[in-house]
């Protein structure tokens, strides 16, 4: 479905990504783990078209999408929940969801999508008229995921969805991600919660210094001594 080949991204003359390749198959839940500054967010932003790539290829359902503008990549069904949520803070929860379904195709099904989002996060239905900025961190993350649901994603990319959340909220978010995957949404998940991430994923990539250093089925990586030592502290 999505395949990234030898992607190189320069950031202020530094090589933020040094030839990254990655595959996401339809229906998959793929994890991307790695420490801070390893280039995970850069990779997601290049897929979304926010950052121009220096070289390489990004193929989406057989067509190249590298160089396309972010709004056109969104039109293709590649939806990102950005790091730090980036909600429209002075707009209400409802307006944030509405903006998620901005494009005509998503707007046509906005009512069903909203119902689905409120089924998953009943709390947001109660808070629909509050401004997004006035919510707690956990609730804001729910809005961020709900906004993405409104966009009718074919591929949902989440960047650190559990950052800054209480363990309880984090567990809830991971469960929701798994549930969305069960509803036929392909997922690419970035997270530093390595144990929880690998537990719900099918396949995983490990990034360090702008390179993929390890990849394999998530269950195998959980048993890998390098993962145990560097990321799970075992």
């Amino acid at each position: 479905m999505l395949s990234v080949n030898d992607l190189i991204v320069l950031y202020q003359k530094l090589r933020a990504l040094r030839g990254v390749s990655l595959e996401v198959a339809e229906g998959d839940l793929v994890a991307l783990i790695g420490s801070n500054g390893s280039g995970k967010t850069t990779l997601l932003n290049s897929i979304s078209g926010l950052i121009p790539a220096g070289a390489g290829r990004i193929m989406w359902q057989g067509t190249p999408i590298l160089g396309m503008s972010p709004d056109n990549i969104c039109r293709e069904g590649i939806i990102q929940v950005p790091e730090g949520r980036k909600l429209f803070a002075q707009m209400t929860v409802e307006e944030n969801l509405e903006m998620g379904a901005y494009l005509p195709a998503a707007r046509a099904e906005a009512d069903q999508s909203r119902q689905m989002a409120f089924d998953i996060f009943p709390r947001l239905a109660e808070r629909r008229r509050q401004t997004a900025g006035s919510l707690s961190g956990g609730e804001q993350q729910m809005v961020a995921v709900a906004r993405a649901i409104m966009a009718k994603p074919k591929l949902l990319m989440l960047d650190e969805p559990s950052l800054g959340l209480s363990p309880l909220f984090a567990a809830e978010i991971f469960q929701t991600i798994k549930e969305l995957n069960n509803r036929d949404i392909t997922v690419l998940l970035i997270s530093q919660e390595v144990l929880q991430t690998l537990t719900i994923s099918n396949y995983a990539y490990v990034m360090e210094n702008g390179e993929i250093i390890l990849n394999g089925p998530a269950k195998e990586l959980l048993d890998d001594p390098r993962i145990k030592e560097s990321y799970l502290g075992l």
């Binding site: 972010p70 709004d71 969104c74 980036k86 909600l87 429209f88 509405e98 903006m99 494009l103 966009a151």
Partner: protein, 291 residues
């Protein structure tokens, strides 16, 4: 002090202030949303005023109906200016300063074009109802001011509801609050920015007609209008439509009251003096900046 006179000058101040508000709203939007300080904003307002003047003189068209011509025309002109002049400078390091220099140039060019077309003579909008007055009890409402007031109040409300209720308007706010996230959800930033600029300039045209209802004007008049624009934004908060509306009313009321009770030379002195005091007490303006 005479109560009737106080209330009368309040009424007159509110009617003037609504026009400042309409003229200022678009200036505030381009500043807040696009980070473009459009020095030529009032110049576009003046074009609206001159178009109204010409259409009235040659076709006998009511200045308010002239908006049917000038608003779409200015919207289209603004889109062209945005595409070919503003877009290139958005790559500049300091967009705000660069935009001021660019639009200052646009203002000078437009001012000289207006001098060529309309000559430097001061003009007045003289309609059939120019000298008519509506009298309610002890108070009177001059028809031209009343027309300017109603047009401006409607104009500001239309822009407010556009931003709050329509999809495109909400996208304008979203793009201002989180440009990256807005793009990730399918909003074309350049298109939204162009629409914002177009609406701002078109509303300036309407505001200019409102100003022409209040004062005589010549091709240099935009220089004084520009100062009112800055006041509206500074008091009302950058990008805040209702804030701009209230700021316009406050400025109008201060002007109205000082016109009634002070010699003419004191009016601007008092208006700007009071606003300086407001700025010293509340450097971020009276209202929060938000779309």
């Amino acid at each position: 002090m005479n109560t009737v006179l106080v209330i009368q000058s309040l009424i007159s101040g509110i009617m003037m202030g609504s026009v400042y508000a309409l003229l200022g709203v678009g200036f505030s939007l381009t500043w807040g949303v696009l980070k473009v300080i459009n020095i030529s904003h009032a110049t576009f307002g003046l074009i609206g005023a001159f178009l109204a003047y010409t259409l009235l003189k040659w076709l006998g068209m009511d200045p308010i109906f002239s908006l049917v011509v000038s608003v779409p025309l200015l919207f289209f002109l603004a889109c062209l200016i945005f595409r070919f002049l503003i877009v290139p400078i958005t790559k500049a390091k300091d967009v705000i300063v660069t935009s001021m220099i660019l639009t200052f140039g646009i203002a000078i060019i437009l001012e000289n074009l207006m001098l060529l077309i309309w000559s430097p003579d001061p003009r007045l909008l003289t309609t059939a109802y120019t000298s008519k007055v509506l009298i309610l009890g002890p108070f009177y409402f001059q028809y031209p001011k009343l027309a300017g007031f109603l047009m401006s109040a409607i104009g500001v409300l239309v822009i407010h509801f556009f931003l709050k209720k329509t999809y495109t308007g909400k996208a304008v706010r979203a793009a201002w609050q989180q440009p990256d996230a807005a793009q990730l959800y399918g909003i074309n930033l350049r298109r939204i920015s162009m629409i914002t600029f177009g609406i701002a300039v078109a509303s300036a045209g309407a505001g200019g007609v409102g100003m022409a209802f209040l004062y005589s004007f010549d091709p240099h008049a935009h220089n004084l209008w520009l100062i009112y624009l800055f006041l509206v934004v500074i008091v009302g908060g950058v990008g805040n439509v209702l804030g701009a509306a209230f700021a316009g009313l406050i400025i109008g009321v201060i002007t109205g009251l000082s016109l009634a009770f002070l010699p003419y030379q004191w009016v601007n002195l008092l208006t700007f003096g009071l606003l300086m005091v407001i700025l010293i007490i509340r450097p971020h303006g009276l209202f929060k900046g938000e779309v």
